[in-house]
C-alpha cells in the first residue's frame, strides 16, 4: 500500500438532480449480527491483520433468493469464539438464518477471497476460498451441505501461501470452470516485524505494520479443471507464472476485447497491475502496460485493491474501475477497443475524492436510471494513525458517484441515505438483489464489526431488467458470458463474473437499470463463443435464458 500524495480536485457545483436510490443498513434486523473477526479490534500489527476479506451473494439452494456467505479471519493469539466463515440462508422475508454449522462450513482461519461457481456442472454453486496459509474448495452437495474437497481436488499447495484474489474462469472454453488465484506476498508471523519493531514501517510519522513494500511479492497461479473433480496446476504452461512477482490482490475474469476468450485482470498493490490476455490456445500474454490497465495515465503504479467491471459510458464495451490507497484517486479505465484502455479518472470528475483507503467497488446502476454509477467502500489499514492525524480516520464512509451520463460523475455525500455516510473500516463488497424487489442491494464486510447489508429502496420511475444465464455447452454458471443490452439508444455490456469488487463475489443475475425504457434487446456472447439475440424483453422482469433454448422463465417482481 502506498499513497502518492495526490490532493483532491475541488468539487464543482452539484447537478441538483434527484437521486432515486436510498440505502438503509438492515444487517441487524436481517440477523447478520455476528462480527467478522479479523485481527485485533483496535490495532493491526501485521499486514495480514489489515487486509480483511471478501463477501458473497450466492443462491446455494437454488430457491431463487440470494443467500449470503461471509468470510472471516481470526487472531494471532489463538482461536476466537464465534469467529468462522458464515453461511446465511435467505428466509425470503428480509431476514436470514445462520446455517453455517448445518452446511458443514464452520472454519476459523485467515480467509481472504471467495469465488462462487459450479465447477462440477451439477447445478449447484460451489465455493472456493483463498487465504493464508492455504486455500479451500467446498463442493456443494446439493442438499444444503458442503464438503471440503481441497486435497482431493489437488488444490492443496506445498508450504504456506497467502492466496488473495480468486476467480473461476473457463479459460480454454471446454465448458468447465478453471481456477485462477493471485497471491499477495510471502507472509510469516515469525519473520515479519510487528508494528513498532522496524523504524522503516512508518506512515505520517506513526509506526505502522510493515508491507507490502519491503516484503517478498508472489506470483499468481492457474489451475485447469480436469473434469473429474480434480485440477492440474498449469501456472507455468499457461504463461501465468512467467510474470515478475507482484503484490496481487483482486482478480477478475471477463472477455475485455470481445474476442470470445476471457482475460484475467489482477489488481496489484504498489506494483503494476496485470492483464493476462487470453491467446485462445491455453496460454496468456501479460499485456498490462500495452493495454493501459497496469498503471495510471502518468505511468505510475498505484496500490490496487479492488476491481469493478462494467460499462459506464454505454458503448457496449466493458470498462474497469480500480481502487487504491488514501491520497490517491481510484482509476477509471474506459475501454477503447482492441484491448486498449484510457485512464479517464480525472476527466470524469473522480479526482475530487482522495481521502480514504478504498476497497470493494462496483460499476452498478443503483437508481435504475440506465446509467451505471460507481460505488466503493473505504477503511484505513493503520488504525494507529488517526490519533495523530484525524484526517486519516480508521473508519470512513462509503463513496458513491452518480453517473451524469456525459462521461462525468458527481459524488453524492448525503443524498443516498445515512447508510452511505456511516463510517466503517470496510473491505469486501458484493452487489445483489437479496429481497428480489428490482434493485441492487449491497453487502459489505466491516473489520471486527458485523457486516452491513444496505437495502436499496429505489423510488422514481426507472425500469430495470435482470438476466440470469444457464450454460449448457458452456459452463453451467455461464461465467464468462457477456450480455449487451440495447435500450433508449444506449448499449450496455455486462459480464457474468465469479469474482470482482475486493475479493468478493456478487449476484450472477445481471441487473440493468433501463431508465424510461420499457423493453430492451439482448445479445448474449456465451463463454463457449456462440452468440444469441433476443428482441423486446419487457422491463421489470427477471428473465432466465438457457443456452440454446432461449428464454425459459420470466418472473415479474418489484414495483
Amino acid at each position: 500500500m502506498a499513497s502518492r500524495g495526490v490532493k483532491p480536485q475541488p468539487r464543482g457545483k452539484l447537478s441538483g438532480l434527484p437521486f432515486h436510490a436510498h440505502f438503509t443498513d438492515v444487517a441487524a434486523h436481517a440477523g447478520l449480527r455476528a462480527p467478522v473477526i479479523y485481527g485485533p479490534p483496535d490495532r493491526m500489527d501485521y499486514i495480514l491483520e489489515s487486509m480483511g476479506c471478501g463477501v458473497a451473494f450466492l443462491d446455494y439452494d437454488n430457491d431463487g433468493w440470494l443467500d449470503i456467505f461471509l468470510l472471516s479471519g481470526t487472531r494471532r493469539e489463538g482461536p476466537v469464539e464465534g469467529a468462522t466463515n458464515r453461511l446465511y440462508k435467505n428466509n425470503r422475508d428480509g431476514t436470514f438464518t445462520d446455517v453455517t454449522e448445518k452446511a458443514g462450513l464452520t472454519r476459523q482461519g485467515w480467509a481472504c477471497g471467495v469465488t462462487i461457481g459450479d465447477y462440477n456442472n451439477d447445478g449447484f454453486d460451489d465455493i472456493f476460498i483463498s487465504g493464508w496459509p492455504q486455500n479451500t474448495l467446498y463442493r456443494n452437495n446439493g442438499d444444503g451441505t458442503f464438503t471440503d474437497v481441497t486435497e482431493k481436488a489437488g488444490l492443496l499447495h506445498a508450504g504456506n501461501r497467502w492466496g488473495t484474489g480468486c476467480t473461476w474462469v473457463d479459460y480454454d472454453r471446454d465448458g468447465r470452470l478453471d481456477l485462477f488465484v493471485s497471491n499477495y506476498l510471502v507472509f510469516d508471523f515469525d519473520k515479519i516485524p510487528p508494528t513498532g519493531k522496524d523504524p522503516r514501517c512508518d506512515y505520517k510519522g506513526v509506526p505502522v505494520n510493515c508491507g507490502p513494500r519491503g516484503l517478498i511479492p508472489e506470483r499468481p497461479m492457474l489451475y485447469h479443471n480436469n473434469g473429474d473433480g480434480t485440477f492440474t496446476d498449469v501456472t507455468a504452461h499457461s504463461g501465468v507464472g512467467s510474470v515478475p512477482p507482484g503484490f496481487g490482490l483482486t482478480a477478475v475474469a471477463a472477455d475485455l476485447d470481445g474476442d470470445g476468450w476471457q482475460e484475467i485482470y489482477v489488481a496489484c498493490d504498489s506494483t503494476p497491475s496485470l492483464l493476462f490476455h487470453n491467446r485462445g490456445d491455453g496460454t496468456f500474454a501479460e499485456l498490462g502496460l500495452q493495454s493501459g490497465l497496469a498503471v495510471n495515465e502518468d505511468g505510475s503504479e498505484q496500490a490496487g485493491m479492488g476491481i469493478a467491471i462494467g460499462d459506464f459510458d454505454l458503448d457496449g464495451r466493458l470498462d474497469a474501475l480500480k481502487t487504491h490507497f488514501a491520497e490517491d484517486t481510484v482509476a477509471l479505465y474506459r475501454n477503447t477497443g482492441h484491448l486498449g484502455f484510457d485512464d479517464v479518472t480525472m476527466r470524469s470528475g473522480l479526482g475530487v475524492e482522495t481521502r480514504y483507503v478504498s476497497w470493494g467497488d462496483g460499476i452498478v446502476d443503483l437508481d435504475n436510471d440506465g446509467l451505471p454509477d460507481l460505488f466503493w467502500v473505504t477503511g484505513s489499514v493503520f488504525p494507529e494513525v488517526e490519533r495523530k492525524h484525524p484526517e486519516f480516520p480508521h473508519k470512513s464512509p462509503r463513496v458513491l458517484f452518480r453517473n451524469l451520463g456525459n462521461g462525468r460523475f458527481e459524488e453524492l455525500l448525503e443524498e443516498a441515505g445515512a447508510a452511505i455516510a456511516e463510517p466503517h473500516a470496510s473491505r469486501g463488497v458484493a452487489f445483489g438483489d437479496f429481497d428480489n424487489d428490482g434493485d441492487l442491494d449491497i453487502l459489505i464486510m466491516n473489520m471486527n464489526e458485523p457486516p452491513s447489508l444496505l437495502r436499496n429502496d429505489v423510488s422514481g420511475s426507472g425500469h430495470w431488467l435482470k438476466v440470469k444465464l444457464v450454460g449448457t455447452r458452456s459452463n453451467q454458471s455461464a461465467i464468462g458470458a457477456v450480455v449487451t443490452l440495447s435500450y433508449s439508444g444506449h448499449k450496455q455490456a455486462q459480464a457474468v463474473m465469479a469474482a470482482s469488487s475486493y475479493l468478493s463475489s456478487g449476484d450472477r443475475r445481471l441487473h440493468f437499470g433501463l431508465g424510461a425504457a420499457e423493453a430492451a434487446d439482448l445479445e448474449i456472447a456465451w463463454p463457449n463463443g456462440t452468440r444469441e439475440t433476443f428482441k423486446g424483453a419487457p422491463s421489470n422482469h427477471l428473465i432466465t435464458i438457457k443456452e440454446g433454448s432461449g428464454i425459459v422463465a420470466r418472473e415479474r417482481f418489484g414495483s
Binding site: 522503516r200 502496460l289 500495452q290 498503471v295 505511468g299 484510457d342
Partner: protein
C-alpha cells in the same frame, strides 16, 4: 557587527516576515518563492491578495492562474488566464496554459489548436508532450506519435513520455516500437523508484544514524555522472547540517552541468554555511546569473560580499534583493546600515 548582520541575512532566504504594508510586489514576491517550493496553496493565497490589491496587474493574475492550475482548480485558472488575456493580450505562455486547460477539459480540438500554435517555438519543453497527448486523445494517433517522439527527444529521461508513446505505438499496431518504448519506460520508472528509495534511505539514515554510518547509506546516491542526483545528495547532507559532505557532490555537479542553477546555488549556500565566503562568491554569482530574480541567491550573494568586506559590491546586490522582497525588514535594516556607512565615507 558583521556577525550580527550575517545572522540576520542567513535567515532571509526562508523567512517571510509579515509586513503590515502589503503590496502587490510583496505578495507576488512571496507567492513566487512559495511556488518555487511547490507550496501552491499558500502561493495562491498570496497571488489572490496581489490580484485584490491591483486587479489591473496581469502578472498577479498570471501567477495566480498558474497556481490554480497546479492545484487542479481548472475553471478558476481559466478565468484568471482569460483576465490576463484581456489586460495584456495574447502570448505563447497563455496559449500554452489555455491549451493545457483545454486538454484537461477534454476539448481536444481546442487543445490542439492552442498548443499547436506555439509548438514550433514552445514556451516550455513539455509543450510537445501535451500536444501529443491531445492528438492521441482526439484519435489522431499518428500525429500524436510524431509529437510524443519529439517530446521524448527533448526529455529522454521522463518515463511519463515513454509510457504515453509506448501506448500510442500500441494503439497504432506498431508492436515492436511499443515494446521498445514500454521497456524503456519500465527501466526509467525503476530507476526513478530506486532513486526515491535511495533518497528515503539516505534522509532516514542522516536523521537516525551517526554521520559515518549515514555516509555509507547515502553513498549509493553518489552517481558521478548524474548532476541532479548529486545535487539532491548534497541537499540531503545540507539539510542535516553536514555541509562538508555536501561539497564534493556539488563540485562534481557543476562540472557536469554548468547551467544547473540548483547546483551553483547550493554550492554557494554550502560554502557560505562553512563560512568560506571567498569560495561562496563565484557559485552565487553564477546562480544569480542563471536566475537573476531568485531572491534567495541574490540576498545570499549580498551577504557574502558584505562578509568579504566588499561593501561597494554588496550594496547594489542587497538593494536588488530588497526590490525583490520589499517586505523583508531584515534586509532593509542591513541596507540602512550600509547606506549610512557609505554616506560617512
Amino acid at each position: 557587527m558583521r556577525a550580527l548582520v550575517l545572522f540576520l541575512l542567513i535567515g532571509l532566504g526562508t523567512s517571510f516576515s509579515q509586513s503590515g504594508q502589503a503590496s502587490v510586489e510583496a505578495h507576488v514576491g512571496r507567492g513566487t518563492r512559495l511556488m518555487q517550493d511547490n507550496l501552491f496553496e499558500a502561493a495562491a493565497a498570496e497571488f489572490e491578495q496581489a490580484v485584490a490589491a491591483n486587479p489591473q496587474d496581469p502578472r498577479a493574475h498570471f501567477q495566480f492562474a498558474v497556481c490554480l492550475l497546479a492545484l487542479g482548480r481548472n475553471d478558476e485558472a481559466r478565468r484568471q488566464f482569460e483576465q490576463v488575456q484581456k489586460l495584456a493580450g495574447d502570448s505563447r505562455y497563455l496559449e500554452y496554459y489555455l491549451g493545457r486547460l483545454d486538454l484537461l477539459s477534454n476539448d481536444y480540438g481546442a487543445a490542439i489548436r492552442r498548443l499547436g500554435s506555439v509548438a514550433e517555438n514552445p514556451p516550455f519543453p513539455d509543450t510537445a508532450f501535451h500536444l501529443g497527448v491531445a492528438y492521441v486523445s482526439a484519435g489522431d494517433v499518428i500525429t500524436g506519435i510524431k509529437w510524443l517522439e519529439r517530446a521524448a527527444k527533448l526529455s529522454p529521461n521522463d518515463y511519463r513520455i515513454h509510457y504515453r508513446l509506448g501506448r500510442a505505438y500500441s494503439s497504432a499496431g506498431r508492436d515492436q516500437e511499443a515494446a521498445r518504448e514500454l521497456d524503456l519506460y519500465t527501466r526509467l520508472r525503476d530507476e526513478h523508484k530506486n532513486n526515491e528509495k535511495d533518497v528515503r534511505d539516505c534522509a532516514g539514515a542522516l536523521q537516525n544514524q551517526p554521520l559515518p554510518a549515514a555516509r555509507e547509506v547515502c553513498h549509493r546516491m553518489f552517481d558521478p555522472n548524474d548532476p541532479e542526483k548529486l545535487t539532491l545528495l548534497a541537499q540531503l547532507y545540507g539539510d542535516s547540517g553536514a555541509f562538508d559532505d555536501a561539497l564534493d557532490p556539488l563540485k562534481r555537479a557543476v562540472q557536469l552541468d554548468p547551467k544547473s542553477f540548483d547546483a551553483w546555488h547550493n554550492l554557494g549556500v554550502t560554502y557560505f554555511r562553512l563560512q568560506q565566503y571567498a569560495k561562496a562568491r563565484e557559485p552565487l554569482e553564477r546562480a544569480v546569473a542563471l536566475r537573476p530574480e531568485f531572491y534567495g541567491s541574490v540576498v545570499l550573494l549580498g551577504a557574502t560580499l558584505y562578509m568579504l568586506g566588499d561593501d561597494d559590491a554588496a550594496l547594489p546586490v542587497l538593494e536588488k534583493a530588497h526590490r525583490l522582497n520589499p517586505s523583508d525588514a531584515q534586509t532593509a535594516q542591513v541596507l540602512e546600515q550600509l547606506r549610512a556607512k557609505q554616506q560617512k565615507k
